[in-house]
Structures are given as structure tokens and as C-alpha cells.
Symmetry: D3
Subunit: 115 residues, 6 copies
Amino acid sequence: MGKLEEEFNAYRTKMNDRIMATANTNIKRFFALDTTTYAEGALDVKTKEMLGLVASMVLRCDDCIKYHLGKCHEAGVNHDEINEVFMIANLVGGSIVIPHYRRAVEYWDELTQSA
Amino acid sequence: MGKLEEEFNAYRTKMNDRIMATANTNIKRFFALDTTTYAEGALDVKTKEMLGLVASMVLRCDDCIKYHLGKCHEAGVNHDEINEVFMIANLVGGSIVIPHYRRAVEYWDELTQSA
Amino acid sequence: MGKLEEEFNAYRTKMNDRIMATANTNIKRFFALDTTTYAEGALDVKTKEMLGLVASMVLRCDDCIKYHLGKCHEAGVNHDEINEVFMIANLVGGSIVIPHYRRAVEYWDELTQSA
Amino acid sequence: MGKLEEEFNAYRTKMNDRIMATANTNIKRFFALDTTTYAEGALDVKTKEMLGLVASMVLRCDDCIKYHLGKCHEAGVNHDEINEVFMIANLVGGSIVIPHYRRAVEYWDELTQSA
Amino acid sequence: MGKLEEEFNAYRTKMNDRIMATANTNIKRFFALDTTTYAEGALDVKTKEMLGLVASMVLRCDDCIKYHLGKCHEAGVNHDEINEVFMIANLVGGSIVIPHYRRAVEYWDELTQSA
Amino acid sequence: MGKLEEEFNAYRTKMNDRIMATANTNIKRFFALDTTTYAEGALDVKTKEMLGLVASMVLRCDDCIKYHLGKCHEAGVNHDEINEVFMIANLVGGSIVIPHYRRAVEYWDELTQSA
């Protein structure tokens, strides 16, 4: 596992554990929904993770982008496919997305090179 | 064709024609990109249109949502699939998306009933 | 009930019924969360509805604003209090909020005059 | 004065008067800032109104766009200049801006044809 | 005072001083409004700071979240209350808020443990 | 060249080179548009860069702000002018812009002091 991925995962896991320790019932339900929404259904996991990625990119959330890039990689999204998701995000969200796209490419490179 | 779809298409076509009549070269290039980005490629048109839809929903643009709903319908997205796209949009974008989701369902109903 | 309120409620109810008729389980859970989150808890309903209102205003969603204005009115938020919520929304969200603030004042006037 | 402009101005004036009648001191100060910020200074009014327009377009506020289009027109922004502002807005904000751009062109046409 | 709070406050104070040294009159007025808006009024400081917090969370501004968390803590917002504000922010703003919520919990923990 | 500027430019150049090495045709076209849009035209480069800056500030993208601050500095925007752009951004975008404004002032100081 590469360095960016390791740091991201470590903080995410630490804080999710911390949150679950004292969160109220509705927060726990919201986190549960966040998991089940991306499960295999009428759409397969690969498609759903690309949907999560493009939504995260146009809303410009670096951590969300990293998370869904990891899941896209696990689900077998290839280089040409991820580039087309990136293009849709840049087009719809505009050039304001580009700095997040740069960091996304850096993270994706790490994911695909550490495999 | 239903009433909502007809109104949306008529205004969109009228203004796109107007824009092309006087736009500068860069605007024309941007509109061209907006077309070619959703063409069949490493990802098929159906997947790309769902990506365009979810991005439009989390950014809460009713006209963009209508446009991609029309394209999703043409590309064969079915009821269960569109509901899963809707859910990802609601989850990622939050309850602020719900009013746009209501209008999306109304438009989708018209599209699927007028077929 | 004033005209704006009546129109808003009628469409909202019609589409919520329509959604519940065909939504998947996760969407139904999300809508349930949207209800329970604003229930009396450590914070009272009045405070929660003002929180919902200010969030809706800075995110500039007219329908969400109308919904929470109605709930704030039911919960007894008075004229001076609502003005302070409006000010926080304008300050944090900026002058881009002003057109939504205008429509909010029109709706609030209807709510308070039809009482 | 064209129909779109007339409707926009009438509602804006009516509600601004209504707001001033009952707003608190901070809201009045905020509205005063909204006026003085666009006054001639180190930058001329024409430049400031183009800045207000591009900010309104990327934040996708139709009423704000109309307001600044009116002011740009008064300040002498010409056809080629407004097209370059439109292009920057479309580029930075992305294709999600396009529906607002369509309505902006319609309003600009009315402004320039009714002159 | 914990480490995160110390760093945040130091940079904020340094840059606010820097800004005041050369800002124009309108910027100074805007900063003054940013202070008076949260003063005791028809709503108490505690309520206003929770309003500022939820607005900052749905707009996803980490520094603004830290600032209002500090003020909420000073105003006596307790654990159960802050969790309900967090839930409203997550619900309205969607899962895109979660990374900011993680950092908010980390900062809140520091505030409440260093007391 | 100051430290902030050096770091920003180094990462930006590295990742743009990386992106160009494997990007698809549409991404390359989008990046080309991002360049030509700010070229001298009906509006001069200085005006266009201020438009790019204000758009980046209200959308709260630190990297985009840095980029356009650099270009504004090259184009001869002076202290009083940049303050008026900052004020329009704060006003339209709201107090949520302030943390980005702080970082913008820090970067601008570096640009103007290293000259």
C-alpha cells in the first residue's frame, strides 16, 4: 500500500471508530446507509463506485475522491475508464475541479503502481 | 412526448441555436466538448449518462437533470437502476437534493409513461 | 393557508406519495432519517428547525427554505428571531443568498399574516 | 424595457422595500455594503459589474445574473466582452452553468434589443 | 489549549491583523458585521453559534467549522447537543460532509478534553 | 520566488505533465480551453485574470486562487485593485470565503514582496 493511501486509510479508520463510540442513533443510521447504498444491486459495484467518484469530484471533496478511487480500483475500473470519469467531472464541474483532479491522478497512480 | 419534456426541449433548442449564432470560438469548443464527452468510449453511453445525471443531481441543476434523465431513458436505464442513481445522489448530496429529486421523479414518470 | 404555502404543500405531498410508492428501501430509510433528525431531542424542535433553515438558506434551496420556514412558524419562532437567522444566512452565504432571502420574506409574510 | 427585465425589477423592488421596512440593523448594513462595494473605486464600475456577473454565474444564481447583466449593460459592456465573461463562467463553473447561461443570453438579448 | 486549536488561532489572528493593516473600508465593515451578527440578540449566543456551525458544515469550510466549534464550546453546547447539530449537517449536506465531520469530531475532542 | 509560490508551481507543473502523458483527447482539449480562455481578446488579460480570481474565490478553491493571484500580479493588478476584487468575493460568497481570503492575502504578500 502506498503512502497517500496508508495515511488516508489510517485517519479515516481512526476517526470512524471514534465517531461510532459516541455517535447518536441517527448518525449511526446515516453511516450504515452510506455503506449499503454502494452494495451490489440493480447496478453493479463498479458502476456505483464510478457514480460516487464523479459526485465527489464535482463537489470537490478530496477525501471522498480518494475513498471512491480506492473502491473503483478494487472494482476493476481501468485506465481508460477512469479517464472518462475524470473528463465528465472536469466538464460538468468546470476548471475549478482541476486541482482536485491533479490530486486524484496522483492517488490513482499510487493505487495502480502499488498493486 | 410529454408536456414537461416538450417545454424543456423547445427552450433548450431555441437558446442553443441563439447561442451558436453569436457565441465566440471558445464557447463553441466548450459546447462541442459537452457533446463528445458523453459519446461511446471505454465506458458505454448508458454509464456515462448515469454519471452525468448523478453529477447534475448533487450540483442541483434541474435542467441538467432533465437532460440526462432523457438520455438515460434513451439508453435503456430501467426503474430499479434509476432509483439506485437517485439514492446515491440523495446520499452524497444530502436532503438538500430532495426537491430536485421530486422534480426528477415527475419528469422520469413522464418519460416512461409517454413511451 | 396562503397561496404560496398551499402550492408548495400540494406538490410536496403529491411527489412524496409518488416517491414512497416506488422508491427502494434505502431511499425510504433516507426519508425516515429526514423526519427523525428534526424530532425533539437534546435540542428542541424550534432550535433544530432554525438549524435546518439556515442550512437551507446558505445552500440556496427555495423549497427547503419554505419547508423549514413553515416548521419554524409552527415552533413559535418570532419576527426578531427569524430576522437573526436570515442575517446569519446572508452573512455566511453572501449576497448570492439575497434573492432566496427575498422569497423567504415573502413566504414568511404569508405564513404570519394567514395565522 | 423588455418583459423579463420589467418582471425582475418589479419583484426585486417590491421585496427590497418590504425587507427594509422590517429588517434588523445588521441586514440593513449588509444591503448597504452590497451597494457601496460596486461603486467606482480603484476599479471602475464596468469591471466591478463584470466581476459581480462572473461570480453570480459560477454560483448559478439567475436573479443575481440578471441584476449584474443589467448593470453591465448600463456600464457599456459590449457583445464581444460579455461573451468573454460568459466563457470564463462556463469554463470555471463547468457545463452545469450552461442552463443559466442560456437564460443569461435571453435576458441580455432583451436588454440590448430594447435599448 | 490543544495543538489543533493553538495552530488555528495563531494563523487566524496573524492573518486577521495583517488584513486589518491594509484592508479597505468595505472589508473592515464586512469583518465588523461578521462579529456583531453573532452577538446576543433575540437569539442567544449559543443558538447563533450552532447556526454558524451548521452553515459552515454544509458549506464544508474546515476553518469556519473550527471557529464555531470553539465558540459553541465556550457557549456551553454539550455532547448530545453537538451530536444533533452534526447530524443535521450530515443529513442536509450529505455524505460529502463526512470528512469535515471527522475533523470536527477530532477538534471537538481536543476542545472538551483540554478544558 | 517565495516559498508558497515555489511549492504551488512545482506540484502544479509536475502533475500537469503527468496528466498530459496519459490524458484522453477530451481532457487535453479541456486544458487547452483553460489556456486560450484567458488570452487577450475583447477583454485584456488583466481583466480576465481578475474575473478568474473572483470566480475562484467564491467557489473557494485555494489552488485556483493562487494561480490567478500569480497571473493578476504579472498583469499589473495593484494593491487597491486586488482589495476591491477581494471585497467583491467576500460580499458575494459570504464569510465562508474569509479563510480562503486569509490564505490569498498571505500568498499575495509573498508575490508582492519577492518582486
